[in-house]
Amino acid sequence: LTGAGTSAAAEARDKAWGALMKAAQDGDTRAYEAVLSACEPFIRAVAGRRCRDRALLEDVVQETLLTVHRVRMTYDPRRSFQAWLSAIADRRAIDALRKRGRIALRETHDEEAFETFADPAAKDLDEPDAGLVIAALMEGLPERQREALELVKVKEMSLKEAAQASGQTPGALKVNVHRAIKALRARLTGGGS
């Protein structure tokens, strides 16, 4: 009896949504908003059978709503609205999973992307006092080199902006940054004075 009751309720809901969609096809925007709002949990349930990731699932729900809008002329009111809607939601979930799979194949995880030095010892600079060590070493640099390094690398100014701020030419800035980095590297690896 419970199964029959559930089935009858689903059928009644299908008919009600179908009637609203038919009205939406005829230009009734209130019916359109009502049917989209009412069927959103249904879309989430259908797409959720394939998508476990909550963020991806939300993307699929939104993409399905947009697709419903684009293809609403293909709904035939004599047929089941839920079958039509679930086919769209299911297809969008498959598309989203495939897209994520393709992206995962060509992108690197952030943790690896943040690796900066091949030498493991150099990564010790990630320690909390690394900034202080660098700052202390920079103090020992000639004025023009320190200024160039600060503006271009620390403050991330463009060469043009740094040239305006320092009065050095872009060419001189490039040379000074290069020399400063070379000097710092030599001091860090123990090659400097």
Binding site: L36, Q62, T74, R79
Partner: protein, 212 residues
């Protein structure tokens, strides 16, 4: 509880202009096929040598192969139309397969005992299939894309298969010699080019859908 997508829903609903419901996929396909048939008949009546066509396809094998080419074309167009609707089964895509297999098998059997080729006309067959198949594919995709197919690649592929079958059937009216193995291979290559283009165009067109 307010839905997180309520704003999007309101925006979509505000753009809910009246739309004309598309007819059933079967009827749509029949309409397109009728138009292609009328144009094909006009071309045949104007330029083909019917007496020669009857002489060459007079044998049971050749006639069956020709009919299977038509069946592949017709079933390809019908399948594309059904697949372009979201709630119709993807299994419609298998509809042209038996006709395609029979067409290839019968054409292959017809090649037995004939020289393999090549001959002077082989290149013109490819050109004919591509030149008639391309506008048919373009026309079908233009009509099919009114439904914004959610499986766009498959829809494009089936439309191109239908166009290739119909073009190959039409080619028989302008093919003044028996089909050799090389001819068949070239016909297949032309059909494959069309289908590849249909698949690619379908996928490219998928990303060009209107957004809200």
């Amino acid at each position: 509880v307010t839905s997180p997508n309520q704003e999007l829903i309101a925006r979509i609903a505000a753009q809910g202009r009246p739309v004309r419901r598309l007819g059933s996929p079967g009827l749509r396909a029949i309409g397109w096929l009728a138009l292609v048939a009328v144009l094909g008949c006009a071309v045949v009546m104007r330029w083909a040598d019917l007496a020669d066509f009857v002489r060459r396809t007079g044998g049971l094998l050749q006639a069956c192969a020709w009919l299977m080419a038509i069946a592949t074309g017709v079933s390809g167009v019908i399948a594309a139309s059904y697949v372009s609707f979201p709630d119709r089964s993807r299994r419609w895509a298998w509809l042209p397969l038996p006709f395609l297999v029979l067409w290839l098998a019968l054409s292959g059997i017809g090649c037995v005992g004939l020289p393999i080729g090549p001959d002077a006309h082989s290149g013109s067959c490819v050109k004919f299939i591509l030149m008639t198949g391309s506008p048919i594919t373009a026309f079908l995709m233009w009509r099919l894309w009114r439904a914004h197919p959610i499986d766009a690649g498959l829809t494009g592929l089936l439309a191109a298969l239908g166009a290739a079958g119909l073009s190959a059937a039409l080619l028989q009216f302008f093919h003044p010699f028996a089909i050799t193995a090389l001819d068949l291979a070239l016909h297949l290559a032309a059909a494959a080019i069309l289908m590849g283009a249909g698949l690619l165009l379908g996928r490219l067109a998928k990303g060009r859908l209107a957004t809200v």
